[in-house]
């Protein structure tokens, strides 16, 4: 009889325990000019969440062109001289092959062009062709990496990690959570997401409907660590004379890229790569992206301007359509 009572007590305890470990500790913040959210599960979740937020800001301070003391700002102010910049050097080393795969249409030195167009700011406007070609000349630059040092071939060019900074911050948080032995976590730096470790029920990450961050196009399910990023033309743009101008430029023309796609979501092995590949795939289009994705072991969800959705093989069992204005092919 005593044994039975004990069993009852134990099973009730178990029932409550299994309820307890499903809720994580969440902290929201603002960094890299966007919303940041960190949810950590398991032991030390509060400490890990605040450490993760700090890590994101620390990463911003290291690589943002906007932060005066950053490696990037130092490189940009160096007038073509070699600068010791270990973080930038590592990132550039990873990214240059992706730029090359787009035939230079994806570039890390378009700062001048972004300033000229001002897309996403109050002063966004259609520049003159003369101004665009002048800006393109300033952006035309080779980046040399030697060990921990970085040199720009064109002294008037400026490096800008805006296309990969959010994903790279996810990489840094991944390293931190791994060394702290966290069980599971979800990190959002704007639209760049890290699902870390393993938790009950896995991870559900929604892809926003292009043009409406508050509406879900579809949903991706992951059992374990994944890095997810999206690039699209409906995220930041301005309209003039009934024409839309978005924020992803073609480095060859100096104009917003003309694409058959509304957006590309990429799942890759690192955050910097999911960010870089989503931009590169948006530039390349669906057909030409296949090879690039394969070479990085990455997968993608393509959304075309005809509201069709194409999912690569690695994600076909993970993707569920939610928005019925779109057709899954």
């Amino acid at each position: 009889m005593k044994l039975r009572i004990l069993t009852v007590i134990l099973s009730v305890c178990l029932a409550f325990c299994s309820c307890g470990n499903t809720s994580g500790y969440r902290l929201d913040g603002f960094a890299m000019n966007t919303m940041v959210s960190v949810t950590v599960y398991g032991k030390e979740s509060e400490n890990n969440a605040s450490a993760a937020l700090r890590e994101i800001t620390a990463t911003e301070n290291k690589i943002s062109w906007n932060v005066k003391s950053s490696e990037t700002a130092k490189i940009n102010a160096a007038g073509g001289n070699e600068i010791f910049a270990p973080t930038a050097a590592e990132l550039i080393g990873e990214l240059l092959p992706v730029c090359k795969a787009t035939d230079g249409r994806y570039s890390l030195t378009l700062r001048e062009l972004c300033d000229l167009w001002g897309i996403g700011t109050e002063k966004a406007d259609l520049p003159s062709e003369v101004d665009i070609s002048a800006a393109l000349k300033k952006c035309d630059c080779e980046i040399f990496v030697s060990g921990d040092n970085v040199t720009l071939s064109n002294p008037s060019a400026a490096l800008d990690f805006g296309s990969v900074g959010k994903g790279y911050a996810c990489d840094k948080v991944y390293d931190l959570l791994k060394s702290n032995g966290a069980d599971a976590a979800v990190v959002s730096v704007g639209g760049s997401i890290l699902c870390f470790g393993q938790k009950n029920g896995g991870f559900t990450v929604d892809i926003a409907t292009p043009g409406n961050i508050n509406n879900s196009l579809g949903s991706l399910k992951f059992d374990t660590t994944a890095f997810i990023s999206t690039s699209g033309s409906e995220e930041r743009f301005f309209e003039k004379d009934g024409k839309k101008y978005h924020h992803i430029f073609d480095a060859k023309t100096g104009y917003p890229l003309i694409s058959e796609l509304k957006s590309v979501t990429v799942v890759a092995k690192s955050g910097a790569m999911s960010d870089a590949l989503s931009t590169a795939c948006f530039i390349l289009g669906k057909e030409k992206s296949t090879e690039l994705l394969k070479s990085y072991g990455a997968d993608a969800v393509f959304v075309t301007s005809k509201n069709e959705i194409f999912v690569t093989d690695g994600l076909s069992d993970k993707f569920t359509l939610i928005n019925n204005d779109y057709v899954l092919k």
């Binding site: 919303m35 559900t204 926003a208 508050n214 999206t230």
Partner: protein, 116 residues
């Protein structure tokens, strides 16, 4: 010795199951549903979805009415946040990026993140 159909300990077991089972079955579905209003990274307010109210963060006005929250007014250009409409289910979120304000319902099923 013949085993009785019910032992005193069985009564304890059945009673325990009824009590705890009842707690889970009769828990109202929108129990604890709240609206979290964040601004510039800080949690400004956690309001119950069940009480009609109005809450302003700077120029962004959040209204809770008949069990749903919405961003009623904002001074931003695109008004995507206002266009989002009613937030009822857990995870429903309206974001006004220009004002760095987010309104999110905590409730039952929710996603871990949104990529855009």
């Amino acid at each position: 010795m013949k085993r009785p159909f019910f032992r005193p300990s069985d009564i304890i077991l059945v009673a325990a199951l009824l009590v705890f089972g009842g707690v889970f079955i009769f828990m109202p579905k929108n129990e604890g549903k709240t609206v979290e209003i964040m601004a510039d990274g800080e949690l400004k307010a956690t309001l119950p979805l069940s009480i009609d109210t109005e809450y302003a963060v700077g120029e962004v006005v959040v209204v809770i009415e008949k069990g749903a929250a919405r961003i009623e007014k904002s001074d931003c250009k695109d008004k995507i946040c206002v266009g989002t409409g009613k937030l009822k289910n857990k995870g429903d979120t309206a974001v006004c990026l220009p004002n760095k304000v987010s309104v999110r319902v905590s409730g039952y099923r929710e996603t871990d993140g949104v990529t855009w």
